[in-house]
């Protein structure tokens, strides 16, 4: 079964047509990188996958459930689909540990000791076990993002969405976050869809690279084709040359 399927999806913001006829299938275990100029609809596409944006037309099937169907319980989908944002969105009023433990406790009703064990495991995995009691405001950007990843992982999702997870970070913090993302991407049981301009990351771990422009998918290549064969789309080529300066 495919993890994510878009069939002729159309998305509007008021009158503005943000996504045009999107067709896209992502299989379980794939790591897909999504690139494109600012405003091309990358965030819109990725946010519609866990229902943060509602599509107007078409079918969007995530983990076997149709998001356009009003009977679908969006909260059930979100248990399986984690998301990491550009600005981290850590809960400002909760400690690091509480950030990680809150959703498992009140959504999955995970038992307190198990919850804590898993949370500490996740913190360990992102290399921040020693920061458990701090508040988000006391962390650097790179640390915040790693906590945000740990928070998503603690829900044990089948799929993780990343929306420019490194673009708000100081340059020397980028690597730490990318390294964690790489280990996640290599885990074949996890599907990831990543909006990023870090082409090194894409080269190293992506299966596919998708290029968007003006709300459309204009290029959908295997990694090798994209980086070696030169994209067939002219705008994608131009864009690539600019960001690889």
């Amino acid at each position: 079964m495919s993890m994510i399927e878009f069939h002729n999806v159309e998305k509007y913001y008021g009158d503005f047509h943000a996504l045009h006829n999107i067709n896209l299938t992502i299989e379980a275990g794939e790591t897909v990188v999504l690139i494109g100029p600012s405003g091309s609809g990358k965030s819109t596409l990725i946010r519609s996958i866990n229902g943060l944006e509602q599509i107007r037309e078409g079918q969007l099937i995530v983990n076997g459930q149709d998001l356009a169907d009003p009977k679908t319980d969006i909260n059930r989908i979100r248990k399986n689909v984690g998301m990491v944002f550009q600005h981290f969105n850590l809960y400002a009023n909760k400690s690091v540990l509480e950030n990680i433990m809150l959703a498992p406790r009140i959504v999955l009703h995970r038992k307190e000791d198990e919850n804590k064990k898993i949370a500490m495991e996740m913190l360990d995995r992102v290399g921040l076990a020693d920061q458990a009691t701090k508040m988000p405001a006391q962390l650097s950007g790179g640390q915040k993002q790693r906590i945000a990843i740990a928070r998503s992982l603690a829900m044990r999702p089948k799929c993780l969405l990343f929306d420019e997870p490194t673009s708000a970070l100081d340059p020397e913090m980028v690597d730490d976050v990318l390294n964690i993302m790489k280990t996640i991407a290599r885990d074949s049981s996890m599907t990831s869809l990543v909006v990023t301009h870090e082409m090194g990351f894409a080269r190293e771990v992506a299966n596919r690279v998708i290029f968007m422009a003006d709300g459309r998918i204009v290029e959908d290549d295997s990694k090798d084709k994209f980086f070696n064969g030169e994209p067939t789309n002219e705008r994608a080529r131009q864009f690539l040359s600019k960001i690889l300066h």
Binding site: N50, L52, Y91, V107, M155
Partner: protein, 218 residues
Amino acid sequence: MLNNFIAAYSPDNLRYLFGGLGITLLVSVASIIGSFIIGAILGIVRYVKFKYFSAVVGFIIDVIRNLPLILILFFIYFGLPNIGVKPEVIPAAIFAMTIFESAMLAEIVRSGIQAVDPGQMEGARANGLTYWQGLWHIVLPQALVKMIPAIVSQFISLVKDTSLATIILLPEMLYRSQIIYGQNTNYIIPMFVAIAVLYFIVCYALSVLAHYLEKRQA
């Protein structure tokens, strides 16, 4: 001049005036508690948008917010008996102040919630929390911290506004000062000094509290 002050601040007059301060504080504190609870509920109702209910509540809030408090005092004091309730002055004043201030606070609460970074709710939703769970665990606690200064300054206004209840003869501080200087012109300045200082102390203490809370939050 000095003699006027000494005479004006006779033990009897001071006792009488401080009694007025007591009533000012009683009415203030009771209305603060009442309006905080009601205002918070109304503010959430307004933010969350239950179809027609929120619109109706919103309209009523707007009507109350846009009327002078004096009128609301009149409506409560003279109007309630029309539906069979005959409030004494103090409960009437508390009731009127509570209604008025609840409407003001509802507005503060609504905009306080709106001021929380939308990313917080998105983070919570994406993390699997429902809308209400996100509101309760994440958004509301942060909103409360943000709106504390505005709430405290609304309470300062409330304390000051109790003086308007002289119009329904609430025997609070301003009213009592008028009774005292009504008897002797020489007491006018001493009385103004006294009540200005007393109001200032109470309100300034509150605003120092607000500043402190604001700093602690930043």
